[in-house]
Each structure stands twice: as structure tokens, then as C-alpha cells.
């Protein structure tokens, strides 16, 4: 008998029958498979001694004795007692018949009992017990014993294999469960809305982002048509069209506006769901992913506005360069003085263009975090002094008094010297630009020991800034209309200063101003402890 792992359960009964037949025809062919006979009588044997011990002598001795008596009466007795011959023969035959009857009865009884014991043993084995009745050790039961033992061994092997298989399946199942939970957790953690619908546009799966964006409860909406819980018609329509086209719709990416947000809808079919493209439509599942692209849209809009603004700002000095160059080429500048004037305008416009490009690149580098910063301990008073020295000619040209209130104590900050110098220069230059002739510009240093900072303040007696314009002063290209005629600038200077102070050096820039009286810009920077 051979039992393989692959045999299904239904074959086991047949197999048992088969093995019984096989054992009956060749009882001793599989010696190795035969288990040992019980060595000591078990409890069952104690209660119920083997019937064979009683019946075996009875079955052979009682009929033989009776038969002997019958023969004696029939053969020996007649010679002694002739007159009783007929009677004696009758008696002898009678005894012989009784002996045959007893023998027949005893044989039947013996067989029945043997059958009963076999049944008991079979029942015992069937129940899974490994106990063997002792009487099974008797020679007459050997074939049955061997058959049962082999069958039992086969069953046990099969059981072992099945238990192993069950264990494997259990492991596989728990692994599959774990993977399913993981996949679910991953889908739930995605910030994009994920919806899966079946061939009837009913919800099969949704994540919390989908609930939040589309405003439904996924447990309530489960197996319900999309139209019942999603208000957005274009979403319903896109999913339906995609499903109806069998995934061949070109509208795989659609933009949807839900509320005040813009979403990019990406549609795909659940891969592996269908084996053939001709599969029924109801098996077609659609995965809809909604990504919030509001910010990207806004950023794109800002960028395009910025580019338009930059283009405008670049065109202004470029216009001067082109127009004056053409005038010179056309000989429209009649005298030397006019020509010199035109050259100077071209030169200053080119400089302005260069500054504009430099500022723009600097701001963009700081914003992108790619600016090269060389921080080192810098004495604040030195930075201020350098800036004032550089700006003095410009101040003198406008007859503006440029003063400083420097303190003898050396305060150091950890800063990029060039950048901080640039920020101070920008503030002083602005102060000079927007202060009428004869005014005053003052720079002072104020340490704040309590919070370990130092501030550089640039004050002027200039035109001042209207209150409504104050919050926008550090925006790119923002200029106060009323003060436009005072000076030409790139519109980027203050934005750059703010970036240098706050983004690069972790400081803070503040502004106080009063129209007609002047403004004060204060940059506060952390001191080296």
C-alpha cells in the first residue's frame, strides 16, 4: 500500500478497502509495516478474557468425546449385548448427531464471538485509539492484526501529512491576512483619494482620503452605486465612460474641480482582474485616484505671474538701452552733450538690468536653498561701517547727512559677511533714495542681551510708507505708487533683504514708518553666545 500527499480525502475509504483486500491475499508480505504485538495484557483483556481459551478445547474436545461415545455405542457395545443392538445403535447415532450439533453450535458461537471482537477492535481503531486487544495477539487473528496495523500505519502517515498540510495552509492564510491588512493600511495612509468600483459602478473600496474629499462614509457606501453618494457628476461620468470603453478610453487623466480645490483624476483598471479582454463587463473594476493639485496650480499661476512681472521689469531698462542706442545710430543726438547723456542713460540702464538679474538669481537661490553661505564670526560694527563708507558718496550727492551710532563693544554674529553687507547696503540705499535732499539717514546698533540678539536699525527722515502698503513692502516687485517717482528700483531689494535676514540667518526684519516723517527698518540677528 502506498499513500501519497496528493490523494484527496474521498479516496481514503477506497484505499482502506483496497488495503484490506490486498492484506487478505498476501498477509505477510509487508513485514516492516507490522507493529509489535502488545507485550502485556491491557485493561480490556483483563475484564474480558480471550474467548479462544475457553472455546478452543470445547470446540474440539466436546464433539470428539461425544463422537467417541457414539462410536462405542454403535460399534463396541453390540457384540456384548445383542438384544439391545437396535437400541444401542440408535443411541450411538443419536449421540453422534448431538456431537455434530454441539460442534456446529460451538463453531458458530466461536465465529460470532471472533467477529464481535474484530468489530470491537475495528471500532477502537476507528475511534483513533492505538490500543490493541490482547486477543489480537492470537495466531488466528494475525492476518487481521497485520491488516489493521498496516492500515493504521497508513492512516497515521496520511493524518500526519494532512496535519502538516493544514499547518502550512494556516501559515499561508495568516501571511495572506497580514499582507491584506498591510495593503489596506497602505491604501488608507495615501493622501490621494482612492476609489475602486465594480462593473455596476458600485463602490468596492475607498480610503479615508476619498471619504474626506468626496464627503461620504465608506462603510455605508460599500456596494452602493457611485451616484448615490458622490455628487460630482463629472467624476461619475469619467468612471462610467472609462468602464464602458473597457479601459481603452483616452480620458485616463481628467481634471476635476470639487469645491474650491482642483484634482487630477487618474483612472486605471484593476490589473489581473480579467483574463481576457472579452470578459463580461461586470468583472471590470476601475481604480480612480484623485490627487489634490490646487497648490501646484497656484504655484504655476504665481510662477507665470512672476515671470510676467520679471519680463516687464527687464523690458523697462532694455527699452531705454534699445531706444537710446537707436537714437545714436540714427544720428538723432545732435551735439556732444546729448550724445554723452545718451551714453550715460544706456550705461545706467544696463547696470539696472544687471542688478535686477543678480537680485532675481539671489532670491531664487535662497528660495530654492541652493545659495552658497559662508558663515563666520562677523563684527557687526565693521559690517555697518563698510556699508556706510560705500554709501557716503550717494548721500553727499543728495546732501543727506549719513550718521552712525556705533558702540565700542564688539558684538559678533555668525553670518555670511557679503550677504549681511548687502542687506545693510540695500537698506541704507533705500533710505537715501526715499529721503528728500537735505534729510538725514542714521544707522545704529542695539544689542538685546536678554534674548541674545542684536539689531541694526536704519532710520530716515524720508517720505514714509502709507499704512496700507506696510504689509506688502517685502513682496517681490511691490512698489508704493505714491513714491514711485522718488527713485527707480528693481522692486526686489527689500525682498532680498528679508530673505538674507530671515531665511539665511534666522533673524527678523521689522518696519515702522510714518508718512512724511520717515521710516525705520530694523534687522535683528542672533548673537554668538
Amino acid at each position: 500500500m502506498t499513500v501519497t500527499h496528493d490523494r484527496p480525502w474521498s479516496q481514503i475509504d477506497d484505499e482502506r478497502q483496497e488495503s484490506a483486500d490486498w492484506i487478505a491475499s498476501a498477509p505477510n508480505s509487508n513485514e516492516a509495516a507490522q507493529p509489535e504485538l502488545p507485550e502485556s495484557p491491557n485493561h480490556k483483556a483483563d475484564e474480558d478474557p480471550p474467548f479462544r481459551v475457553v472455546t478452543a478445547p470445547l470446540v474440539s474436545i466436546v464433539p470428539l468425546a461425544l463422537a467417541g461415545i457414539g462410536v462405542f455405542w454403535t460399534v463396541v457395545q453390540p457384540a456384548a449385548d445383542r438384544p439391545l443392538l437396535g437400541m444401542t445403535r440408535l443411541l450411538g447415532v443419536g449421540v453422534l448427531l448431538i456431537a455434530s450439533g454441539v460442534a456446529w453450535w460451538l463453531e458458530l458461537r466461536g465465529r460470532r464471538e471472533a467477529l464481535e471482537r474484530c468489530c470491537e477492535q475495528l471500532e477502537l481503531t476507528e475511534s483513533g485509539s492505538t490500543t490493541m486487544h490482547e486477543y489480537m495477539a492470537h495466531r488466528e487473528f494475525r492476518p487481521l492484526w497485520s491488516a489493521l496495523s498496516r492500515h493504521k500505519a497508513g492512516l497515521e502517515a496520511r493524518l500526519g501529512q494532512l496535519l502538516e498540510k493544514q499547518h502550512e495552509l494556516g501559515l499561508e492564510r495568516s501571511l495572506a491576512d497580514m499582507q491584506k491588512r498591510h495593503a489596506g493600511a497602505i491604501i488608507d495612509s495615501i493622501s490621494d483619494a482612492v476609489l475602486v468600483t465594480d462593473g455596476f459602478d458600485q463602490l468596492v473600496l475607498a480610503n479615508p482620503a476619498a471619504e474626506a474629499i468626496l464627503g461620504f462614509d465608506r462603510h455605508e457606501a460599500f456596494r452602493k452605486p457611485l451616484a448615490e453618494f458622490v455628487d460630482d457628476e463629472s467624476l461619475q461620468q469619467s468612471i462610467r465612460q472609462f468602464r464602458e470603453s473597457g479601459g481603452r478610453s483616452s480620458k485616463r487623466r481628467v481634471e476635476l474641480t470639487i469645491g474650491d480645490k482642483v484634482y487630477a483624476l487618474t483612472l486605471s483598471e484593476v490589473s489581473g482582474e480579467r483574463d481576457e479582454t472579452d470578459a463580461p463587463a461586470e468583472h471590470f473594476r476601475v481604480v480612480a485616484v484623485l490627487r489634490d493639485i490646487t497648490k501646484q496650480r497656484e504655484a504655476a499661476r504665481h510662477k507665470s505671474e512672476f515671470v510676467a512681472h520679471v519680463a516687464h521689469e527687464l523690458r523697462t531698462p532694455l527699452s531705454s538701452i534699445r531706444a537710446y542706442t537707436e537714437m545714436l545710430v540714427d544720428g538723432e543726438a545732435g551735439d556732444e552733450a546729448t550724445r554723452a547723456e545718451y551714453y550715460e542713460i544706456i550705461d545706467s540702464s544696463a547696470n539696472r538690468l544687471g542688478r535686477l538679474i543678480d537680485n532675481m538669481l539671489d532670491i531664487s537661490r535662497i528660495e530654492a536653498g541652493t545659495v552658497r553661505v559662508n558663515k563666520e564670526p562677523v563684527a557687526v560694527s565693521m559690517v555697518v561701517k563698510d556699508a556706510l563708507d560705500e554709501m557716503r558718496p550717494q548721500a553727499e550727492e543728495k546732501k543727506i547727512t549719513l550718521t552712525d551710532e556705533l558702540i565700542p563693544v564688539v558684538y559678533r554674529i555668525l553670518a555670511d559677511r557679503d550677504q549681511i553687507n548687502r542687506a545693510v547696503l540695500n537698506l541704507v540705499s533705500n533710505a537715501i533714495k526715499y529721503t528728500p535732499e537735505g534729510g538725514k539717514v542714521q544707522v545704529c546698533i542695539k544689542p538685546h542681551e536678554e534674548n541674545q540678539t542684536i539689531s541694526i536699525e536704519v532710520s530716515d527722515t524720508g517720505v514714509g510708507i502709507p499704512e496700507d502698503a506696510m504689509p506688502r513692502m517685502f513682496e517681490k516687485f511691490y512698489r508704493v505708487d505714491a513714491n514711485r517717482k522718488m527713485a527707480k528700483g528693481t522692486g526686489l531689494g527689500l525682498n532680498l533683504v528679508k530673505h538674507i535676514v530671515e531665511t539665511v540667518h534666522g533673524g527678523k526684519i521689522t518696519l515702522t514708518s510714518e508718512v512724511g516723517k520717515g521710516s525705520t527698518f530694523a534687522m535683528s540677528l542672533p548673537l554668538i553666545p
Binding site: 519680463a311 516687464h312 527699452s319 531705454s320 534699445r322 531706444a323 538723432e332 517717482k485
Partner: protein, 137 residues
Amino acid sequence: MGTKKILVCDDEPHIVHVVAAKLRNAGFEVLTASDGAEALSAAQQHRPDLVITDYQMPFLSGLELCTKLREDENLCDTPAIMLTARGFSLGDGVLEGTNVRRLLAKPFSPRAVLEAVKEILDESATAAASSTGESQA
């Protein structure tokens, strides 16, 4: 026909300066203004034959200026040329309700401005002549 009067308006003094120089060299009388509001009052006061204005200006933009000129009964026929640093990105219909005849993108050529001025003044003269002719007929 006397010297034509042209009003040039831009918040960039260099631009005003160069356009004015080109036109003066060509024999025109030139008035200048540095913002829309100033240009409007100058136009109302001096009744120029043509206005050249920038698009983006403080207080009153070039577009607002041209709209106001059109609304003014004395200036409603005054043609205008608009200079813009925004390229030709002005949407369709923006210039409706104005007398803007030409849109010139910055950076511009003073030569092109002068040509446009001459063309517009010729067109106006022809139109005026034909309307006079018609009324006489």
C-alpha cells in the same frame, strides 16, 4: 496746418525723454507727463493731436487714461498709441472703448513710434478731409 501736438506719458523718465526727442527732431510739438493723472489734465488743458502712453503707470493706468480720453467730449477723437512691456498679452477687447490705434511692445524702436505717429495723423487727416468733403457735398 500747424505743428502737431503730441502728448507723451510714461512713468519712466528715460522713455519719455527719448520719445520726446525723436518727435521733436521730427518737428512735432511735444508735451510730457509722468503718470496717467498728470497726462489726463495735460490733455484736457492742451488738446493734443495724439497721445502716446505707457500701459502700466501709477495712479491712472494707460488703459484708464485712454478710456477717460474717450469719455471726454473734447478728446473723444484723439488717437492714441500704447506702449507696453507686457508684450502683446493684452486680452482681446481690452482696448475696446478707447482710441488706441497701435500697440507697441517694449523694448520699442523710436523709429517705429515716429512712423506710427505719422501714419495715424495721416489717417486722421484723410478721414477728416473725407468727412468734410461729404458734409460739403
